[in-house]
């Protein structure tokens, strides 16, 4: 059976990982990190949007509509990155038995699903004027859609258990199964795509002006910090819900409100 946290703590006493694996120690730290991430996300988004809309030139081929790239590509990347992070924390939870790891996975999933929706909708709004259709079954859009299904399945599974501990481990297992499948699905879809309709040309892949790339990268970091902040906020709410009997929580919240 999984080790309990107190046993682990004795064994790895002094190690920072185990110290912050306890909700009591992580709760205040997460609060500070969260604030920092919100601030960074806001500043970076402001800078990125300014460069994207007022410095980056008009694209020679696509005109102005390419400016969707500044949110579409970061959202698509976050969809992928968050799934991998989710699977990583799920694996950590299953191997080490740390409750906080499972909670981290749960906290990431809704944000990942939202990023998938944003990537899909902006992708099709970009696609309509660029290649004349709202949807193409291209490998990247299709795998984003499948990732969205995987996020929804993960969340539905986690919610279907009354026993939270069971739900934690069950959904972690399905996150791992999904993570093993994601590359297989991606390459299968890619292969299928070239078979059926010749590879579609994605805009923005070549000859991007340096300022366009700069804006896109800054926006990517803004998205990154936003996602971390949202996940940490959700994590702290989850801790409040699960630790309602813990004395430390009462003390921490009291100290914070004074």
């Amino acid at each position: 059976m999984a080790r309990t946290e107190s046993q682990s703590n004795d064994k790895f006493a002094g190690s920072w990982f185990w110290r912050y694996a306890s909700p009591a120690a992580f709760f205040p730290l997460a609060g500070k990190l969260e604030k920092l991430c919100w601030a960074l996300a806001a500043v970076l988004a402001a800078v990125g949007l300014y460069i994207g809309f007022f410095v980056a030139p008009t694209d020679a081929q696509q005109g102005e509509v390419y400016r969707v790239i500044f949110i579409h590509v970061p959202a698509a990347w976050m969809t992928m990155v968050i799934y991998m992070a989710m699977a990583f924390w799920a694996a950590t939870g299953l191997v080490l038995g740390t409750r906080l790891s499972f909670m981290m996975s749960h906290a990431l999933a809704p944000t990942g699903a939202i990023m998938a929706v944003v990537a899909l909708v902006t992708g099709s709004l970009w696609g309509r004027p660029t290649w004349g259709t709202y949807w193409v079954w291209d490998a990247r859009l299709t795998s984003t859609l499948i990732l969205f299904f995987l996020y929804m399945g993960y969340m539905a599974l986690a919610a279907s258990f009354d026993d939270k501990k069971k739900g934690d481990r069950a959904s972690a297992l399905i996150a791992l199964v999904g993570a093993i499948n994601v590359p297989i699905i991606y390459f299968s879809v890619k292969w299928w795509n070239t078979l059926h309709q010749g590879s579609s040309v994605r805009p923005g892949s070549s000859s991007m002006a340096a300022t366009m790339l700069t804006a896109m990268m800054i926006m990517t970091f803004a998205f990154w910090f936003y996602c971390v902040a949202a996940a940490l906020h959700r994590l702290r709410t989850d801790i409040i819900e699960r630790e309602r009997n813990a004395a430390w929580l009462r003390d921490t919240l009291k100290a914070a409100s004074q």
């Binding site: 299904f149 539905a156 069971k166 297992l173 399905i174």
Partner: protein, 224 residues
């Protein structure tokens, strides 16, 4: 009892049960038949049109039919207590699960792939395409059941388990669908389906190696 003895005993018991409870395999077959006969009503009956969608419809129909029998893997055993015995057995749980999936795959895979050529007639598909489709259904059913056994194990006797199983498992079967239907399409276009068949076999072997272990872990989690 040796491991081999235990697994063959499980397979034999399962197959005997299938022989007794005809609804276990007859209902998925009826479902398959009905799904396949619905599509022409929606798209029209011109044989050229049907030929184009037939492969996909039949393949998806077979996957959905196999999907329907996933709750059969563990639910009944959880109700009558034999799951407890399985968990307490000294034999490795993964091997016992593999034996059950193997029995279900044998019964269902053979049944579904045997009727596939008949449905291919509905869609005006030539005989060689029908044969290739049949072979691919035979390979896809075990892959789906292996992957599905993980979800079925997690959701043993959970409320709304059947629909959630489908939500969890169907996205993971996309590679199988791509290459299974792809092989039949290649035959339809007069090309060699060797690459698709090899990949299809590879997925089956990969699922065979990994899924029983994951399903055993899943069963331990859900019955904890």
């Amino acid at each position: 009892m040796s491991l081999r003895g235990a697994t063959t005993a499980v397979i034999r018991r399962e197959l005997q049960l299938f022989a007794q409870r005809k609804s276990d395999w007859a209902n998925p077959l009826m479902f398959f038949l009905i799904v396949c006969s619905l599509f022409p009503f929606a798209v029209g009956s011109e044989s050229e049109k049907l030929k184009l969608i037939g492969i996909g419809v039949i393949f998806v129909g077979a996957l959905l039919a196999a999907m329907l029998s996933l709750p059969k893997l563990f639910d009944e055993d959880a109700r009558d207590g034999s799951l407890e015995l399985m968990l307490a057995s000294p034999e490795p749980l993964a091997a016992l699960i593999l034996a059950r999936v193997a029995a279900l795959s044998l019964a269902l895979g053979i049944a579904l792939s045997a009727v596939t050529p008949v449905f291919a007639l509905f869609y005006a598909l030539p005989f060689d395409v029908a044969a290739m489709l049949s072979l691919n259904v035979l390979m896809a059913v075990p892959t789906l059941l292996l992957v599905g056994s993980i979800a079925a194990a997690l959701l043993v006797s959970a409320r709304g388990g059947a629909i959630l199983t489908a939500v969890l498992v169907l996205p993971l079967t996309i590679p199988t669908l791509i290459f299974g239907a792809g092989a039949a399409l290649k035959v339809l276009y007069g090309e060699s389906p060797a690459a698709e068949l090899a990949l299809q076999a590879a997925f089956m072997l990969l699922a065979l190696a990994l899924c029983p272990l994951a399903a055993a872990a899943a069963l331990k989690i859900s019955t904890d």
